[in-house]
């Protein structure tokens, strides 16, 4: 049976988990989950569970990694060995390296690194349970952890992916949909300006499908941003 043959959306436009095409999965945010870190946050997003912690700004050593005019951002994305159905073997992994790099590229675009010359900020992203879209969850959790650590940023980064199943463009694929999906468009959006700092895409989208997926992401980013603001306000007493 080919990928396209599994029916993932019913005649009423309902997806396997009951969502409509533009809906995102349930999201829960917790701030400060790593007591020893300078900042931290966790996101439960569908059955994804991702923790991010931030250390720094601190002295950058060895000295050769120091930059005279700004801080260096050291970002690591990693999957815990029990995060996947088949055990995920620890160690070098090309996919994790690439996601770490694009996540760092995105965060460097908003963190005011020039405030901390010659120092280092460490951002650690650990996927505890993986469903689908872990890179988006990781990037979003990292920007929450940076906020929790009080690191100044021009804007938060909100990341979400839309995709295509059964020829229909939908927002925020879950695991089953991802298995049979024909395209995946993760984006990292600055909610205050609508600009982007992160963009990847795999699969096959016609120009009009591409536009539809783009719009879903933009819309979802604003909704997720509301949840993020709420979580931060709850912790810092600006809420309710």
């Amino acid at each position: 049976m080919g990928y396209g043959d599994v029916q993932m959306i019913d005649e009423n436009g309902n997806r396997v988990d009951g969502r409509k095409a533009g809906d995102i999965r349930p999201i829960e945010i917790e701030m400060g989950v790593v007591p020893v870190a300078d900042g931290s946050a966790s996101m439960r997003w569908g059955t994804n569970y991702v923790i991010a912690s931030v250390y720094g700004p601190m002295e950058a050593h060895p000295r050769k990694i120091q930059r005279q005019e700004r801080a260096v951002l050291d970002v690591r994305y990693n999957m815990a060995p029990f995060s996947t159905t088949d055990r995920f073997r620890p160690g070098f992994n090309r996919r994790s390296r690439e996601i770490s790099k694009v996540t760092a590229d995105a965060l460097e675009s908003v963190v005011l690194l020039e405030l901390y010359p010659r120092s280092k900020i460490r951002v650690e992203i650990e996927v505890i349970c993986a469903e689908a879209g872990t890179r988006c969850v990781g990037l979003t959790a990292a920007s929450l952890a940076l906020a929790d650590a009080g690191i100044p940023m021009t804007d938060m980064v909100v990341s979400v992916a839309s995709g295509k199943i059964n020829g229909i463009v939908v927002c925020d694929l879950n695991k089953e949909e991802d298995n049979y999906g024909a395209a995946d468009l993760p984006m990292g959006v600055l909610p205050n300006t609508g600009e982007l700092v992160f963009l990847q895409m795999d699969g096959d989208l016609s120009p009009s499908e591409f536009q539809e997926a783009w719009d879903y992401n933009m819309d979802a980013a604003l909704k997720i941003h509301e949840l993020m603001k709420e979580a931060i306000a709850n912790k810092y007493g600006g809420g309710q």
Binding site: P35, V36, S53, R76, F82, I125, I128
Partner: protein
């Protein structure tokens, strides 16, 4: 790695406290930090636990894999323990390949479980000589405020009691609970300010000397010991911590058995 500052002031402070029978956070010599143990907390693991001791937080996730048994033990499955100290969990943890510390933790936790015989490796046999289960313990720190040894050890045995053999997913029969015959418990002690204390926090860990890890089973049988770090201790000191270990292990065993 930058040169660690010699924590002479910290050591002097801890010694001074010890001389008055006190600890930095007000606890008694054999008193642990606030403890919570939860099981079944990881959606993708076949058994799991979360342990919090003060600000130290860890997970243990249990996964099963099929493997071919060793020719000389055709009806026995295997056991593997891995302890990951990811830099998520503390400013002092550097990224990179497994450190000597993380290797030591993994091996000490492993021996506590393995040597107690709490898992009968023959219970892991599916088809003799062909297919057996391998149990993998992945210990993973979220926040390291000291004494990961005990946190990992407790999470591992708790997760084990929570584990289900995933027969259906691997197409080798029905899912069933993993039989666990015993509840070995690890208790560790560190010399801080010249005397041994239980459950040292990170401050005490940095300013302390040698550690001794004791794993006890039913009837106070000894299953595993490990002395770590530089330091000399006497036979009478050992008698003292062994007595403390017997009491604490028995308390913790009740907690695990009641989950």
């Amino acid at each position: 790695m930058a040169q660690p500052l010699v924590p002479e002031l910290l050591r002097a402070h801890l010694s001074e406290l010890a001389s008055r029978d006190q600890r930095a956070d007000g606890r008694g010599q054999w008193e642990g930090r606030e403890l919570s143990v939860e099981v079944g907390v990881l959606d993708r693991a076949e058994g799991s636990a979360r342990v919090q001791m003060g600000d130290t937080i860890v997970f243990c996730g249990i996964k099963f894999q099929l493997q071919t048994p060793y020719p000389d033990r055709p009806d026995e499955g295997g056991l593997m323990t891995s302890a990951e100290l990811r830099p998520l969990a503390g400013r002092h943890i550097e990224p990179g390949p497994p450190s000597p510390e993380s290797i030591e933790i993994g091996r000490v936790v492993d021996r506590g479980i393995r040597e107690s015989g709490c898992i009968n490796t023959k219970d892991l046999c599916i088809i003799p000589g062909e297919k057996v289960w391998q149990v993998i313990f992945d210990c993973f720190a979220i926040s390291d405020d000291g004494y990961l040894f005990d946190a990992f050890g407790l999470a591992a045995i708790a997760a084990l009691h929570n584990a289900t053999l995933p027969g259906e997913r691997f197409d080798v029969g029905e899912d069933r609970k993993l039989p666990v015959n015993k509840t070995p418990i690890m208790c560790s002690f560190q010399k801080v300010g010249g005397r041994f204390v239980y459950d040292s926090n990170r401050e005490e860990e940095v300013g302390g000397d040698e550690r001794i890890h004791i794993t006890l089973g039913e009837d106070d049988h000894v299953h595993s010991l490990q002395k770590g770090l530089k330091g000399v201790f006497s036979a009478s000191e050992f008698v003292e911590i062994m007595a403390a270990a017997k009491q604490r292990c028995s308390e913790l065993r009740k907690i695990v058995d009641s989950l």
